[in-house]
Assembly symmetry: C2
Homo-oligomer: 131 residues x 2
């Protein structure tokens, strides 16, 4: 067994679970997490999003574009800096998003056990940082 396929397979399965959980608000998981982050830190900059979400700046740009189209966030640019803000529509959606997040957590912790899944998240996080 090899780390390459196990980690890729895990990511794909988790992605599927997450996709299901976020369907209620009609967002893909990465859009959803990006939006949650912006809701938690209005005015956050793409570069910060990039490092927090472990995604490349170009990917962040693409995700924001989509969310702007959906009228869920807006960008303001001054000089070379950009700030991202949630719209009222996004703020309305917040409670439902919390529910989705919770649904996702319930789902995977039911499959793996609360303790095991918490440990797993911690372990994977630490390891991803080391690589």
């Amino acid at each position: 067994m090899c780390l390459y396929f196990t980690s890729a397979a895990l990511a794909r399965k988790v992605e599927k679970l997450a996709t299901e959980s976020w369907k209620k608000v009609n967002l893909s998981p990465s859009h959803a997490y990006l939006l949650m982050t912006v809701l938690d830190e209005p005015g956050i900059q793409p570069s910060t999003l990039s490092s927090q979400l472990h995604l490349q700046p170009s990917t962040i740009t693409r995700l924001i574009e989509k969310l702007e189209e959906k009228k869920l966030m807006v960008r303001t640019t001054e000089g070379k800096l950009t700030n991202v803000y949630p719209t009222p529509k996004a703020k309305e959606l917040y409670p439902k998003m919390k529910e989705c997040l919770n649904h996702f957590y319930q789902k995977y912790s039911a499959l793996l056990g609360k303790e095991e899944s918490n440990r797993l998240v911690m372990d994977i996080g630490k390891i991803a940082d080391k690589l």
Copy 2:
């Protein structure tokens, strides 16, 4: 912290490490693992590859196409069944591929520690199966 981003981030980082390790034979990790599997089990069928590599049948088809273009494997079809065989060129490449595999393992176990990384692979594998 959330399982979604940790698992995705881990997978992306592992992917990068693996890509580097497989560069010597000019193959992407998924092509490389598919070819290794075919070298280990000549005549293996796409459906078996699909379940062993945790990839969809359509993805397997695409990977095989690419490897056929590179003259590293051939398909023979009889009825609805297809068998996949490595070419002599692939067999020649085998020792180098083993080296890449080893390089990859050395790389990540150096970063994580042999024990920890072995445990990790086991854990992740088990968990991916549960989901």
